[in-house]
Each structure stands twice: as C-alpha cells, then as structure tokens.
C-alpha cells in the first residue's frame, strides 16, 4: 500500500486535525471529534446532524456549515462512530427547534443511529431521523430497506438544510427531506477497487478490462461485472435504469449529480456527463440544476455515482439558497 499517512491508528485524528486547520472560518472540532459549524446556527432553527465512517472525504464533514449540516460525527475508517458521540452532536446542535438526524443506510450506521435515537427519546430530545437509501444497485424497488445510501445524501442535506435556515419547523423540514429522499436515485459504477488505508486490504478486485455496475460505497459489489466500455456506452448503461426506477418522463425537472469515486478524473466525469446531458435532452427531461465533482469518495476507487433527483420549483429554490461549507458553496 502506497499512501501518505503516519501511523494508521492516528489516521482519523490527524485527518480531522488537518481538516479543521484548513477551514477555521467554517468548521471546528468540539468534544470527542465532533465536526460543527464554526459559528452556531441562530436560535429556534432546526439543526441537521449526520454520522458516518471516515475515508470518504469530503463526505460527510465537508458539508458542515451554514445552509447545510450543523454537525457531523466521523467514525473510524469505513466504520460508524459510537452512539454516545452522535447523541452529544445532537445535543450541542439543537438550537431549540429540534434536530433532523440524517443517516445513510449502511448496517453499522443504522445500528448506531437506532441506538442513538433510543437514547435521545429517553432523554426527551426533539429529534427525527431520515434514512437515505437511494442506491438502486443494491436492492429492487419493492425492497427499499435493502438500498444503501450513497451520494443521495447531498440533495437531501442541501435542500433540507436550506429549509431549516428558512425557519421551517422540524416536522416541515422532515417532510422536505423526505420528499427529496423519495425522489432521488443513484447508480454507481466501479472500474478499480480502493485499498483500506489501515488494513491495506483491497476492497474490490476488479479485472483490468472489467467494470462493475452497482458498486457500493466501500467497493461492495452486488451488481453485474461487465467488460469495460467507453464513456458514452457507460452513460447509456446507467441512465435508463435510474430514469425507469424514478419514473422520470418527458417534462420532468431533474437535479443531476455526478460524483467521482476518488481516482476518476474530472476529464472523464465531464466526458460522461456530456453524454448523460444529451440523453436527457433526447428524452425531453430537463436538467434543472447539476454539479460534477467529488462529494463522497472511497480512497482511490475509480468510478462514479450518478444521482438524479426529481425537483419542483420549491425544491429548486432551496437548492439555490446560499450555503457556505468547506466543499459546497452557493453564493448569496
């Protein structure tokens, strides 16, 4: 394994230390490695808190800041953090209007989140949990609980975060988040597996001339192994199942996110995006908004996650609302 680290056991602490030093005006570390906004949200506004393993930078802590998350609880590499830390993050983030707890559907995250919610309820905290499970590669539509949470967390926290800043109540923010979540779908493609930065294990073994459609966040593969294809052919392969699953048809407005997995170049992402955009145009589906870049990665895994979200005017307004986080900014 060739990675620029010091001692493996210091990895998470050191990455957080560097992250905090890089963005002192936006975020800070408090308590036991909780990433919060540098300046807390105004009182009586709903807060958004999330949790997740490290090693996926900039996800998820890269989106802490005004207009998006109030706090993020990073775990060890690819492993959920402990419930007591999540509870602490919820407690310190609550500005009197309650907390939306955003959880990506992965076994460890959900176990931790459920336990956190039990404790939060016992302590009388005002929290609602929203589960992100939009990966169509990991389960059929009739088994939504099987579907994992991938980059679909981003439209949810951006739009719900804006709704929270606008002063909506917790149940209203939850409804907005839930509307985004039920209208978002992701499909991931992997070309090359990453190595675990602590254990040095290869996370997915993909042949030189192969690709996997339905690649999970950690290189879990449940989809099909196919011969490697061109950018245009890959776009033609991944877009139709997403549109079908969402039931998107001519006249719909979509928010389109193309998330690089870590080792895929922007060059490649733009080439594949170009085809996706063309294919949507042919179907008379409008790209209302889009973003191309790295939002949640898996070390040097190669590939991408294509995410589409059906949006209406209200959701687009929230998407356009200002936010200021280390890795996602919308200017006023």
């Amino acid at each position: 394994m060739k990675k620029m680290i010091n001692k493996p056991e210091d990895l998470v602490n050191e990455l957080l230390e560097g992250f905090a030093l890089a963005f002192p005006e936006r975020i800070k570390l408090i308590g036991d490695r909780i990433v919060t906004r540098a300046n807390p949200k105004e009182e009586n506004k709903v807060a958004l808190v999330t949790l997740g393993g490290s090693g996926h930078e900039p996800g998820l802590s890269g989106f802490v800041g005004p207009g998006m998350l109030d706090a993020s609880v990073p775990g060890e590499i690819f492993a959920a953090p402990a419930p007591d830390r999540c509870l602490e993050a919820i407690r310190v983030s609550d500005q009197g209007a309650g907390v939306l707890f955003v959880v990506l559907n992965h076994a460890g995250d959900v176990l931790t989140a459920n336990y956190t919610m039990d404790m939060a309820m016992k302590q009388g905290l005002n929290v609602r949990m929203i589960l992100i499970h939009e990966d169509i590669g990991s389960g059929p539509p009739e088994e939504p609980e099987e579907r994992r949470g991938l980059v679909g967390f981003l439209p949810v926290i951006k739009i719900a975060g804006a709704a929270a800043e606008a002063g909506l109540s917790l149940s209203e923010v939850y409804d907005v988040a839930s509307r985004v979540e039920s209208n978002t779908r992701t499909l991931a493609v992997g070309f090359k597996g990453a190595t675990h930065p602590v254990t040095g294990e290869l996370l997915a073994n993909i042949g030189e001339n192969e690709m996997i459609v339905g690649m999970g966040q950690h290189g879990e593969t449940c989809g099909d192994t196919l011969p490697m294809k061109s950018a245009d052919e890959i776009a033609e392969l991944v877009l139709p199942p997403l549109l079908k699953d969402l039931g998107a048809t001519a006249g719909d407005n979509l928010l389109v996110l193309l998330n690089g997995a870590g080792a895929t170049t922007l060059m490649e992402l733009f080439i594949v995006y170009r085809k996706i955009h063309q294919l949507l145009g042919e179907r008379e589906i409008r790209v209302a908004r889009n973003r191309i870049g790295e939002f949640i990665t898996t070390q040097e895994q190669a590939g991408f996650q294509l995410n589409i979200t059906r949006v209406d005017e209200t959701l687009v307004t929230y998407w356009d609302a200002p936010c200021d986080t280390p890795y996602f900014t919308v200017c006023k």
């Binding site: 690819f78 492993a79 419930p83 176990l111 931790t112 675990h196 254990t199 294990e201 593969t221």
Partner: protein, 210 residues
C-alpha cells in the same frame, strides 16, 4: 462449581479478551475475504474497552460491571461491532439485577437477556451468516446444560462448543446481513468473522475455569 460471583464474571471477560487478542490477525483475515479486513482490529479495540471497564469497575456490583463492559464496547466507534457487542453485554446486565452471584439458572437467564439485547438491534437470525449463528446456539446450549442439572463450568463449556460449531457452520452459508450481504454467493466457503469472534469469546468464558 454451583455459583459464580463478581470475580468470576470479571475473569471470564478477561479470558475472552485474551482469546480475541490472540486471534486479531486471523479475524481480520476472515473479514478480508468478505469485508474490508478490519474486524480483528475492531474487536481488539472492543476488548481494550472491555478490559478497561473490568478494571475500572472494581468495587462495584455485578450489574454495574456488565453495564460498564457493555457501554465500553458500545462506544468504540466500531461500525456494527460496537452496538452489537455493547447490546449483548448491556442485555446481560439487565438480567442480573441485584444478584451477587449466579447459579446455573441465573447464568442461562443472563445470556438469554444478552441475546434479547442483540435481537433488539438486528433482525439477523441463525442462517444469515452473522454473529447470530454462534450466539444463538451458544445461549441455547447453556440453557439446555442448566436444565439438565450441569454445573456452571460445564454449561459454559457446552456454550463454547456450540458457538464454535455455529461459527464453523457459517462457511456453508450465504451472507444476508451487513456489508458482506452484497457479495451474495461469493461468501460461500468463508467463515463469518463476527460469528468467529463470538465463538472465541465463549471459548474464553469456558476456559476461565480450567
């Protein structure tokens, strides 16, 4: 031995911890086959927390000891392992109430309560290729040994044997839970690391009396 008390419970956890520590590399290697290869180091951190809880609980009662062990394991930032191990030990704590010592009946009830604690957290059952494949048979074997009038060490030995058989049986199973689930049929032939950890712990529990 008809009854065990605080010191024996503390010592069975230390023995379990030793068994896990000796096998950290093996557990990570099992995990590497179907996961990301960190199960051994995660269990090592869980056992750090268990040993710390045992040493810091000195002078407390049985319920507090088990609760502290559970809470310590819960709080290791260990993905699924933390909450599952934590709820096992915290569940055991619920069952001992104000008891100062445990006879075989109370021992069986304690492990059953631990199993119930895990069941609150996960829907995984025997056959799903998870820790449940070792835990359920172990608890059942302890209960059966107690009902048959066996001593506490005999019951723990029966639990250890059942847990090991259960862990070995996972080689024949396809994963249905956790990250390994996504590999489906490709998990066949690989022993589940979580079930193996449980088997090693129960082996430690039994060996504390040898």
């Amino acid at each position: 031995m008809e009854k065990i008390g605080y010191d024996e419970i503390a010592s069975i956890f230390n023995a379990a911890s030793m068994r896990i520590r000796e096998n950290i590399k093996e557990l990570s290697a099992l995990d590497a086959a179907t996961g990301d290869g960190d199960h051994g180091t995660t269990m090592g951190r869980a056992m750090d927390a268990v040993e710390k809880a045992v040493s810091e609980s000195a002078g407390s009662d049985l319920k507090t000891l088990l609760y502290n062990i559970g809470w310590g394991a819960m709080c290791i930032d260990g993905g699924s392992t933390g909450p599952l191990m934590g709820s096992l030990f915290m569940g055991m704590s619920d069952a001992v109430a104000d008891k100062e010592s445990l006879d075989c009946e109370a021992l069986a009830a304690m492990f059953e309560a631990g199993l119930a604690g895990v069941r609150k957290q996960t829907k995984a059952k025997v056959g799903d290729k998870t820790m449940m494949d070792a835990l359920e048979p172990a608890v059942k074997a302890i209960r059966e040994a107690c009902d048959a009038g066996k001593s506490v060490p005999e019951a723990l030995a029966a639990g250890a044997e059942a847990a090991m058989k259960g862990a070995e049986s996972t080689k024949e199973l396809v994963a249905r839970f956790g990250r390994a689930k996504n590999l489906g049929e490709r998990t066949l032939g690989h022993q589940d690391p979580g079930a193996t950890s449980i088997a090693l712990m129960f082996k430690g529990f039994a060996e504390a009396f040898k």
